[in-house]
Amino acid sequence: MGDPDKLAQLSLLSRDETGPPFGEPWQAQAFAAVVELIESGRLTQEEWSQRLSVELKAAESRGEYDTGERYYVHWLAALERFAVDKEITAWNELAEEREETRMNDHHRRDEQLKSS
């Protein structure tokens, strides 16, 4: 848990925000994946709320008082952990997938450079 005294001293964010709901496309993707899992019954609202709050509290206990901007970072971490806990995937499979995605990106970029 975060230090309640410290939390009580934090200033509030301004309410004048009217920006887009997602700051970056990956946030929308992470959001949509959770909505799909809930709608298909593979994840309940209760479990998701619990998992997300564990990530938020862990961040607060590290002294990272979120201003809401890192919210989807915690969202993504909770989703990864859900997938690993449920043995849908494993951390090393995710690492391999990232490596493969990165290589594909490089390859695509090289191809584009060649053709331009």
Binding site: G2, P4, L7, A8, L10, S11, L12, L13, S14, R15, E17, P21, F22, E24, P25, W26, Q27, A28, Q29, A30, F31, A32, A33, V35, E36, L37, S40, R42, T44, Q45, E46, S49, Q50, L52, S53, L56, E60, Y65, D66, T67, G68, E69, Y71, Y72, L76, L79, E80, A83, I88, T89, A90, W91, N92, L94, A95, E97, R98, E100, T101, R102
Partner: protein, 200 residues
């Protein structure tokens, strides 16, 4: 098995890798994910909640039903998200002001108000709204009289809240659509009240 938890801050790459694994295993579908994003970016928003609130101002029977069982009304309106989650409408009056928070994470009535604003997800708001709601409201620019009772509602996965703000003075005779246009997202969370017409 080695515990290769990601440490790098490449959120885009992490998300794409995770989504492709979930897709390959048949748990998510990129096409319907796009539809989900499109829906939340453009279809739902505070205008949905505002429609319900405006109608409750002009139709006493509707208001009574909304306050008695908002989930039933939301279902009648074909709003999604209330299959396993309850919805409770709470009305502001001259003597009671309601404020909604989610101390745990960011539970919020998405299909009525769209996605929550950043300030609602902020640690400071989540922690302070229940401890010192009057100070929070004052910092938000709403100075309530001491006689006004403040009720704070903590949203959960099981229940979401909609605040019915007081109808502003000077709006007598306005049509539901005109009234709905006056209702802000933050007034339906209880973070602000609606200014009387002609005093804005």
């Amino acid at each position: 098995m080695a515990d290769h938890k990601p440490v790098q801050a490449d959120y885009d790459l992490r998300t794409r890798a995770l989504v492709s694994v979930l897709t390959r295993k048949g748990l998510v579908d990129p096409e319907s994910m796009d539809a989900v994003v499109e829906y939340h970016e453009s279809q739902v928003g505070p205008h949905v909640g505002a429609g319900l609130v405006a109608r409750s101002w002009v139709d006493p029977d509707y208001r009574r039903r909304l306050l008695a069982d908002a989930r039933a009304v939301a279902r009648e309106e074909n709003l999604t998200g209330f299959q396993s989650t309850d919805l409770v409408a709470v009305a502001n009056t001259p003597s009671v002001h309601n404020l909604v928070v989610c101390t745990l994470c960011s539970c919020y009535p998405w299909s009525l108000l769209g996605l929550p604003p950043t300030w609602y997800k902020d640690s400071a708001y989540r922690a302070r709204a229940v401890i010192e709601p009057r100070n929070v409201l004052r910092e938000f620019g709403l100075d309530l009289d001491d006689e006004v009772e403040v009720r704070v509602w903590d949203s959960t996965a099981e229940v979401r809240y909609l605040v019915i703000p007081q109808r502003p003075a000077g709006t007598e005779g306005m049509a539901v659509e005109e009234l709905a246009a006056l209702i802000t997202r933050d007034s339906m969370i209880g973070a602000e009240t609606l200014a009387a017409r002609g005093q804005q």
